[in-house]
Amino acid sequence: MAKDKKHQLEIVTKPSFIDGSALKIPMLQILKEDGTLHKDAELPEFDKELMLKIFDTMQFIRVLDERMIAAQRQGRISFYLSSLGEEAASIGSAAALDDEDMIMGQYREQGSLAYRGFTVEQFMNQLFSNEQDLGKGRQMPVHYGCADLNFMTIASPLATQIPQATGYAYGQKMDKNGKCTICYFGEGAASEGDFHAALNMAAVYRVPVIFFCRNNGYAISTPAQGEQFAGDGIAPRGVGYGMKTIRIDGNDIMAVLKATQMARKLAVEENEPVLIEGMSYRMAGHSTSDDPTGYRTRDEEAGWRAKDPLERLQKWLLSKDWMTQEKADEIYQQKKEAVLAALKKAEKVAVPHIDEIIEDVYDQPHDQLQQQLRDLKAHIQKYPDAYPKTSGRIEGGQD
């Protein structure tokens, strides 16, 4: 039975309206923009191997993003969406997790997936919607998913994955498997009703979930501050839900690592859901369909380029002698070649067989679906030139 909360409230006799100024939330930063550590900072747990793996992954994603934006311009893929400038947020947080923790992303977290071991070939197969794509070519580019790597398939509708993460984490808690769920989303998606539902329910049920908001300043053309929200970003909302909350420099790999490591402990050991707000900036356009010059200045972009997470990490690695410039260049070169090779290979792979069109609607296609497929194949066979990608591979006559 519920406690009568009211009796515990402090009483005042003079009205005073509080507002956002009642709660200013600072930002955790460990690695400064110049690549040196704050003196008194509390460091995350790490070793050389971990930091090199993170660097390697960041470099890979940087190359993949740059290369695929170009590939889209050349008309080789239909669409691309890069995580330029936000690599620390996704990769650093993935590095703080157990590989069996579930990842539920928005669409700009290719870094987390790469960190888990998704291969460059797997990326390419999805981007080219070919028959080797784990998603069977059904979704637009960058909608990755992989059950083996505990990376939930990305879907376009925004914020829907947030309450799903609460539910997934509930199952983990009930299974007592010591795992948690991390859920990424943008500050724009945090305006959706699903966000509100998700965080409130997670706090009520005390499930092991980490909500990681990438506040990158924009939702397509809409600036966060003043047009997406009027308050002090997303973090204060966590306080409202009674949830552990922290704001971090999302371009600081150390802050991301540290906060996520601590959040995971809270989640898994104390069933405390956690909200992390990572402050960052979307360096590229929203996607290849977007041109940001219509809504923001080059100056603003330049200001943020100085905070680049990859350069920052590289400087630190160099200063620590865990990396040399030659080695860094070599990694870059090697990633470029791998991406190019995989791209060339993937674009030659055929699209899925037409039979796949009715699979996975249900666990088994029902009679009407099977009939619809038969009719479609008969039609394709009548007009093979009109459907060149699939007509050549329909066997015999009408089956």
């Binding site: 998603g135 059950a147 939930m152 539910g167 199952g171 539902a197 679906l369």
Partner: protein, 325 residues
């Protein structure tokens, strides 16, 4: 066998499902220890604990978002929406998420363990926000199954099938007859297959098709018509999506006439889908137009509920019109 009303049969099905598999969870607004506003989940918290049958905050989109996530994790999530009229805030989670989860991931993930229970329908003086029959809103959505039982026996068997079916199922409960419909129900577990209509009574002159609470109307109307010498074949569709075209088409091929009735407004209702399909399948056998006996194209009114209600008299009149065409 035991005498149960429809609510008890549903409660019993939930009880058996939760006993059988400890990854079955039941939740919704007020469904915890209180047992739900209709008491469909009563006793479950006592039996299975507050982590397996529990209250949610008041947010339907959250209930379905949570349920989708829980099901994708490998659990059986049985979510109650307090009234069918309040399912619309969850529309996106159902239509864009539950229904497309498996397809969009190439079967890497699925929410097959999801079942959504919700009471639907009018005749309880509820006005337009406690009377809607929203099945057709969902029937345009490949990936979903939709099930609507007509009595306690059917409700139990169909709900057990729905919970363990490897696809997301929307299970709509006819609340007008929650307590009024009483019948013999086996106490042990049994299932009734989804996707199969039930030919309740054979006949030769006209096929009467309904689902859920509306089945009572074709039964009563058929009684009246039989007295006029009209031989009626009665079919309970049971599953709205995917629906059993074969059984209906076979029946209409035989009788030459079809009447479909639904509580929801005429335009865009599921009766229209049936009529469209059957006129195609049975074109040469039809002796009169397929009749749809449905709600008016208005919201469900309160003070004119009796007039709005699609009762047996309206069905009976439509049978006569079809026979005299």
């Amino acid at each position: 066998m035991a005498k149960m009303n429809l609510l008890q049969a549903i409660n019993n099905a939930l009880d058996l499902a939760m006993a059988k598999n400890d990854k079955v969870y039941s939740f919704g607004e007020d469904t915890g220890s209180f047992g739900g506003v209709f008491r469909a989940t009563s006793g479950l918290t006592e039996k299975y604990g507050k982590h397996r049958n529990f209250n949610t905050p008041l947010v339907e989109q959250g209930i379905l978002g949570f349920a989708n996530g829980l099901a994708s994790q490998g659990s059986y999530a049985v979510a109650e929406i307090q009234f069918g009229d309040y399912i619309f805030p969850a529309f996106d989670q159902i239509v864009n998420e539950s229904a497309k989860f498996r397809y969009r991931s190439g079967n890497e993930f699925n929410v097959g363990g999801l079942t959504i229970r919700t009471p639907y329908g009018g005749g309880i003086a509820g006005g337009h926000y406690h009377s809607q029959s929203p099945e057709a809103y969902f029937a345009h959505t490949p990936g979903l199954k939709i099930v609507m039982p007509r009595n306690p026996y059917e409700a139990k068997g169909l709900l057990l099938s729905s919970i363990f079916d490897p696809n997301p199922v929307l299970f709509m409960e006819p609340k007008r007859i929650y307590r009024a419909s009483v019948g013999e129900v086996p106490e042990e577990e049994y299932t009734i297959p989804l996707g199969k209509a039930d030919v309740m009574k054979e006949g030769s002159d006209i096929t009467l098709l309904a689902w859920g609470a509306q089945v009572e109307m074709i039964e009563k109307a058929a009684e009246m018509a039989e007295k006029d010498g009209v031989s009626c074949e009665l079919i309970d569709l049971r599953t709205i999506l995917p629906w059993d075209i074969e059984t209906v088409a076979k029946s209409v091929t035989k009788t030459g006439r079809l009447l479909v009735t639904q509580e929801a407004p005429l335009t865009g209702g599921f009766a229209s889908e049936i009529a469209a399909t059957i006129q195609d399948r049975c074109f040469l056998y039809l002796e009169s137009p397929i009749a749809r006996v449905c709600g008016l194209d208005t919201p469900y009114p309160l003070s004119h509920e009796k007039e709005y209600f699609v009762d047996h008299l309206k069905v009976y009149e439509a049978i006569k019109a079809s026979m005299n065409y």
